[in-house]
C-alpha cells in the first residue's frame, strides 16, 4: 500500500458510495415503475442543489468532528449569513465582493467564539455551540420578520442558477471546498494535528501539538463553510432568510451526513470524501421520495431508520477489523 494512499485516502470507506449507488439504482427502478423519471434534468439539478447547500455545511462539520468537537450552531450561522450577504448587497452587484467578505468575516468570528468556548472556557462543544446557537436565534427572532435584503443579481444568476449541463455552479463550489478540506487534512500540519487532537488530545499535547489553537481554527473553518452555505442560499433565494438554516435542519442533517460518510463521531478518524458521499446519499433519498410524492412524515421515519442502519453497518465493519 503506497505511502500517499495510506496517509489519507484509506481513511474514507467506500461503503457510503456503495450505498449511494444502490439507493440510486433501486430508487430509479421504483420511480420508473411509478411512471416518473428520477434523472430528468430538473430533478437532477434540484438534487445537486440540495446536496450543495447541505454539503458545504457538512464539510465544515467534518473538520470539527474529526477534531473531536461538534458544531450545533451552524444552522443559525447559515441563516445569519444569508441575511448579512443579502442586506449588504442590497441588490447591487458592486457590493458583491465586500458583502461576501463581510459574511465570511462574521461567520468566522462566530466560529472563533465557538472555538474559544470549547477550548479555553472548557465548555463541552455540544453545550457551547447550542448556547451560541441560542444567542444567534435571539438576534434573528428579534431582528427579522421574514426575508430581508436583496441578493446581487450577478450572484443569483451565477451561483444561484447558472449550471454546466445538469451540474449547478453551487455543486462545483461544494466540490472545490471539499477538495480543499481534503487537502488540508491530508497535506498540512494543521490537518495532521487536528486528527491527532481528535484521536487523543493528551497524546497530541505531549507531542507538542497546540491543541486549542488547532481546535479553534477548525471551528473557524467550520463556521466559514456554514457562511459559504449562507451565501449560496442567499443567491438561491434572492434574499436573506432568517429561518432558512433551521428549516433546513442543517445542524443535525450535517452531522448525519458526516457520520454516514464514515467519520467517527468521537473524532480522530474520518474524512471529507465520505462526507460528500453521505450528503449525496441524503439528497438522493430526498429526490426519490419527492418523485414518489411520499408523505413527508413517512420520509422522516425512513430517514431515521437509514441513518441508524448505515452507522450500524460501519460499526459492524469496525468491530470485524478490530477483532
Amino acid at each position: 500500500m503506497s505511502g500517499a494512499l495510506s496517509l489519507s485516502a484509506r481513511r474514507t470507506p467506500p461503503g457510503v458510495f456503495v450505498a449511494l449507488v444502490l439507493t440510486l439504482a433501486i430508487g430509479w427502478l421504483i420511480v420508473t415503475v411509478d411512471g416518473g423519471r428520477l434523472f430528468s434534468l430538473p430533478t437532477t439539478v434540484s438534487l445537486l442543489h440540495v446536496a450543495a447547500g447541505l454539503g458545504l455545511v457538512a464539510v465544515g462539520q467534518t473538520l470539527v468532528i474529526v477534531g473531536g468537537s461538534l458544531d450545533l450552531s451552524v444552522a443559525y450561522v447559515v441563516s445569519l449569513s444569508t441575511l448579512v450577504a443579502a442586506e449588504t448587497m442590497a441588490g447591487d452587484d458592486g457590493a458583491l465582493l465586500p458583502a461576501i467578505g463581510l459574511t465570511l468575516a462574521v461567520s468566522a468570528t462566530i466560529g472563533f467564539v465557538n472555538g474559544l468556548l470549547v477550548t479555553h472556557a472548557r465548555i463541552n462543544p455540544f453545550i457551547a455551540t447550542v448556547g451560541v446557537g441560542l444567542l444567534l436565534k435571539g438576534y434573528l427572532d428579534n431582528g427579522y420578520d421574514g426575508p430581508a435584503g436583496k441578493t446581487a443579481p450577478a450572484l443569483v444568476q451565477g451561483l444561484g442558477y447558472q449550471r454546466i449541463g445538469p451540474v449547478p455552479m453551487s455543486f462545483l463550489l461544494l466540490l472545490a471546498v471539499a477538495a480543499a478540506a481534503w487537502f488540508v487534512l491530508a497535506r498540512t500540519r494543521f490537518g495532521h494535528h487536528l486528527i491527532a487532537v481528535g484521536g487523543d488530545p493528551e497524546v497530541a499535547r505531549l507531542s507538542g501539538v497546540r491543541g486549542s489553537r488547532v481546535l479553534v481554527t477548525a471551528h473557524v473553518l467550520c463556521a466559514l463553510c456554514a457562511g459559504l452555505a449562507g451565501v449560496y442560499l442567499a443567491s438561491r433565494l434572492g434574499a436573506g432568510a432568517p429561518r432558512v438554516g433551521t428549516e433546513g435542519l442543517y445542524d443535525l442533517e450535517s452531522i448525519a451526513a458526516v457520520v454516514l460518510g464514515g467519520t467517527a463521531l468521537a473524532g480522530g478518524r474520518g474524512g471529507v470524501v465520505g462526507t460528500v458521499g453521505g450528503v449525496l446519499l441524503l439528497a438522493s433519498i430526498d429526490a426519490i421520495f419527492n418523485q414518489l410524492e411520499v408523505d413527508v412524515f413517512f420520509k422522516q421515519v425512513i430517514r431515521g431508520v437509514i441513518i441508524i442502519a448505515a452507522v450500524a453497518v460501519y460499526a459492524r465493519r469496525a468491530m470485524r477489523k478490530a477483532s
Binding site: I127, V130, G133, L134, F297, K299, Q300, G304
Partner: protein, 323 residues
Amino acid sequence: MRIARPLRLLKFRSGGLAPIIVILAVLLVLLTARQPDFLSPPSLMSFLGRSAPIILLAAGQYFVIVSGELDLSVGSLVTAQVVIAARLIDGDPSAGWPVVVLLLAFGIAVGLVNGLVTSRLRVPSFITTLGMFLILVGAVYLWSDGAPKGGLSEEFRRLGRSGFEDVPALGRIPYALVILLAAASLALVLTRSDFGRTLVAVGGNPRTAELSGVRVWRAKTMAFVLSGVAATLAAILIGGYSGVSFQAGVGLEFGAITAAVLGGVALGGGRGSVVGAMLGALTLETLFTLMNFYGVSGALKPTVQGAIILFAVAAASFRFPSR
C-alpha cells in the same frame, strides 16, 4: 489521611454540586428581588409543580449521560406519548389508568430500542437517538395525519394539573410535585445502588467494567430505559398540565441535557450526580421565570438564556487538570 482535605477540595471543585447551588441561589435572589412573594408557599408550590417534568427528564438523562451516552429522543418521546394518550383516551374518563400503563410500556420499549441499538449494534447514541427522534416525530404525525386527534380526559389531566388542596402552611401541593419527589428519591436510591455505581464505572471506563464482569450493554440499555420511563412520566405530567399538542415535547431533550451538564454531569460519562442534574433543571426553569418577571422581550429570550447557560456551564464545568 494527611492529604485528605485538599482532595476533598478537589472533589468539590470538579463536578460537585457547589457551582450549581451557587448559580441557583443567585438566580433566586434576583428573582425574589423583583418578585418578593415568589418564595411564598403557594407560588413556590405551583412553580415546583410545573417544573416537575423537565426535572424528571434531567434525572432520566443523568443515567444515560453518566453511562457515557446521550439521549436526544426524549423530547420527541414526550410529544409522542401525549399525542398517543390523547388519541387512546379520547375524552373517555375510564381509559385513564390503562393508558398510563400502556404509555409506560411504550416508553420502556423506546428506551430498550435506543439502548440495544447503541450497546449491541455499537451505533453512537447521538446517532441512535437522533434517528429515534426523527422516527418518533415522523411516526406520530403520520399516525394522526398532521393534527392530534381525540383529547385527554379531566381524570387523566388531574395528575399534571391539580393537587392536594389546602394543606396547612403550604396551601396546595401539586400531584406533579409529589410524583417528582417520589421519582427523585427513587432515582437517588438507584444511583447509590450496585446498578448506579456500576453504571458510573461503565461510563468511566467500559473496558475495566467489562473485565470486572459488568454486562456493559445491559447497564447502558437500562439507563436508556430509565430515560424512557422518565420521559413517559414527564409526558403524563405535561399532558396533564397543558393538554395535547405537537409542541408538548419540542426542545425538551436539549433542555434536559443542558440541565444535566449545568448540574455538573460530565458529557462522556463517569462523573456527576443525579441531584446535580435535577438542580440544573430547576435552575433552568428559574431562569425562564426570572426572564418573565424581568420582562425580557420574548424574542430576545434565547439570547439571554444562551448567554447565561454558557456562563453557568463555564463556571460549573470548571475542573482541575487531573493529570
